[in-house]
């Protein structure tokens, strides 16, 4: 049986590269592929709640168009007809773009995000809008204004967040892959919780144009996929310098073929920051998974070296000051004047602002807007915002020093694996659990979460590889190698 034929039999665990092969060889049409996924969605999303919306007629229309192109030999790329799920904070022309918030109810976007243009140029089909924490603020997707997404491995548990919907639909076989966004771990942590791959590219590698901003200097769009190769493929499709994004980096095109199979892992130096092992709340199961991953690398001849990231102790403080300050400003445009939901009880302008924003924003968004407004307000800027920016400098220096001594840094993704709904109610506790992921956003480097192990309840645990700025090739090569080696190791154990 060919690889493509194999794929047809297991669409709900298939990958982009397998589907692409099957489409190219005619084993399956885009229509069949999409119909299968829609069928899967109809069967299970009532339990998972990963999608906020799925416009099946549009999808089938797009699939037919793709099949017609391929039939005429006019396919736009190898990936023509591949469906990809889209997080609800990415703008697609003619679709809602609600960020899982009530304040954007009724808003129809008149333009495409650059990543969407890039996908559509290649014939990729936008496959539904996935649930998220409102405006990407949260780590569980519980802060969606619309629904709670369940972890497909245990529907009583959170999928992580904020890209929880994207991770859940990929993990539950409703989508081959999805786009998410990562401001402080929002791709990597749900990927880890749901047992899939999540890549946060280098800041500036992927255009942010059309990504509804949470924290502009930290946000980055990235793929959530079933394997590392797909993450590389999707990165290739969405990356590249964009003249509509001033923070987009030159030479940011990526070619997934550079992530080959002939990678010599023994030349790799993996850095282990001891500060990461001293984190309060690091569960023994995550710690075990982490230690086991280290040994996978070590056993194949990798150099495991100690690196120091002393300023990491201040990362959470620095991050939540910067992120909320930027967010308070970015979200001020949602006021019910030009678009979205306006609440006008008294025909008074101030009341429109107050009522629209009171009703439109959820609890966590308000909390962060308040914190961000406070740290920027008169008299407090120097004490909070400026200090946080200086800490950011120290953390960047830490990483630069570390990467003088190693090629990649290995760490947990989250101190814990997926937990039951409602178990974290204290905001500070929730923020502190982002400690492994937020330093990467502060510095702007790339990082990936790869499935590594399971906890005692059978919930997946990922590990994080952190690469230097624009070092995605090495990052993905190592992740790709780990994915394979770890699988072998598991088979050995069996």
């Amino acid at each position: 049986m060919s690889a493509a034929q194999k794929f047809v039999n297991k669409i709900d665990s298939g990958t982009i590269h397998e589907a692409s092969d099957a489409l190219e060889t005619g084993q399956i049409s885009s229509l069949e592929l999409c119909q299968n996924l829609i069928g899967r969605h109809d069967d299970i999303d009532g339990k998972i709640n990963g999608f906020l919306s799925l416009d099946t007629s549009q999808i089938l229309e797009d699939a037919n168009a793709s099949d017609a192109r391929r039939k005429n030999g006019k396919q736009l790329s190898r990936y023509d007809g591949i469906p990809i799920a889209i997080k609800d904070n990415l703008s697609v022309k003619g679709q809602t773009c609600g960020c899982a918030s009530k304040i954007l109810e009724g808003f129809i976007s008149p333009y495409n995000a650059t990543v969407i243009n890039n996908l559509q140029k290649n014939g990729v089909i936008c496959f539904g809008r996935t649930n998220m924490d409102e405006f990407a603020m949260g780590s569980t997707t519980e802060f969606s204004a619309y629904k709670k997404t369940s972890n497909p491995w245990d529907i009583n548990r959170v999928p992580g967040g904020s890209s929880g919907g994207s991770a859940a639909v990929v993990s539950s076989g409703q989508a081959l892959a999805a786009l998410g966004s990562d401001t402080g771990g929002s791709i990597r942590q749900p990927a880890s919780f749901c047992g899939v791959v999540g890549l946060k590219p280098t800041y500036g590698r992927v255009s942010r144009y059309g990504l509804v901003a949470f924290a502009s200097s930290l946000d980055q769009i990235g793929p959530i996929t079933r394997d590392v190769k797909d993450a590389a493929i999707l990165l290739e499709l969405i990356s590249g310098r964009d003249e509509l994004d001033s923070t987009s980096l030159p030479n940011s095109d990526f070619n997934h073929h550079e992530v080959g199979n002939d990678f010599d892992v023994s030349s790799l130096r993996i850095g282990i920051p001891k500060e990461f092992l001293e984190i309060d709340g690091l569960s023994s199961e995550v710690n075990d998974a982490f230690e086991k991953s280290i040994s996978v690398f070590r056993s194949r001849g990798c150099d495991i070296v100690d690196v120091k990231l002393p300023s990491i102790a201040y990362a959470v403080s620095s991050y939540y000051i910067i992120a909320t300050a930027e967010a308070s400003s970015n979200l001020s445009r949602f006021d019910g004047i030009r678009y979205g939901n306006r609440i006008d009880r008294t025909s008074d302008l101030l009341d429109i602002y107050l009522d629209t924003r009171e009703n439109g924003f959820g609890e966590e968004v308000k909390r962060r807007i308040l914190l961000g407004t406070y740290v920027l307000s008169s008299g407090y800027y120097d004490a909070y915002y400026l200090r946080a920016q200086k800490i950011r400098t120290l953390i960047r220096d830490d990483f630069n020093n570390a990467f003088n001594n190693c090629d990649l840094i290995l760490s947990p993704v989250s101190p814990v694996s997926a937990y039951p709904f409602g178990s974290v109610s204290d905001p500070l506790q929730m923020y502190l659990s982002d400690i492994y992921t937020i330093p990467v956003n502060l510095v702007g480097n790339c990082a990936i979460s790869v499935p590594a192990s399971f906890d005692g309840d059978g919930m997946p645990i990922g590990i994080q590889l952190i690469g230097n700025s624009m070092d995605e090739i090495r990052l993905l090569q190592a992740a790709h190698w780990f994915e394979f080696a770890n699988e072998m190791e598991k088979n050995d154990e069996v």
């Binding site: 923070t247 980096l249 678009y339 101030l350 500070l428």
Partner: protein, 105 residues
């Protein structure tokens, strides 16, 4: 910052941010934000006098564009999304007289 963070005036901050909050919300946010700021007190203990701030994750400069038109959207596209419209031309809001000249404050 030290003692200051213990008396965050949530009402004032909420007004700056144009958020209506009821008394329950005010006290809850006051507790939350004070807790977060107490934790962030750790920053005041770091000597940062010789450290320059970092505002961006990437260190590039002079990203500018040439002065060329890219086209606009149609008025109907704009007004279709607007909650209230005047004469199919303007976006309607309750009467506001800007404090000052009709320009930036």
């Amino acid at each position: 910052m030290n003692e200051k963070s213990q008396d965050v005036d949530i009402r004032h901050i909420a007004n700056l941010a144009r958020l209506n909050l009821n008394d329950g919300e005010i006290s809850r946010y006051e507790t939350d934000i004070n807790a977060i700021l107490s934790y962030a007190e750790q920053l005041s203990k770091v000597d940062l006098s010789d450290v320059s701030p970092t505002a961006h994750a990437a260190s590039i400069t002079n990203v500018i564009r040439s002065d060329e038109e890219r086209g606009s959207m149609t008025r109907s596209e704009l007004l279709d999304n607007a909650p209230d419209v005047l004469d199919d031309e303007l976006i309607k809001v309750p009467v506001v007289i800007r404090h000052g000249s009709e320009g930036p404050a």
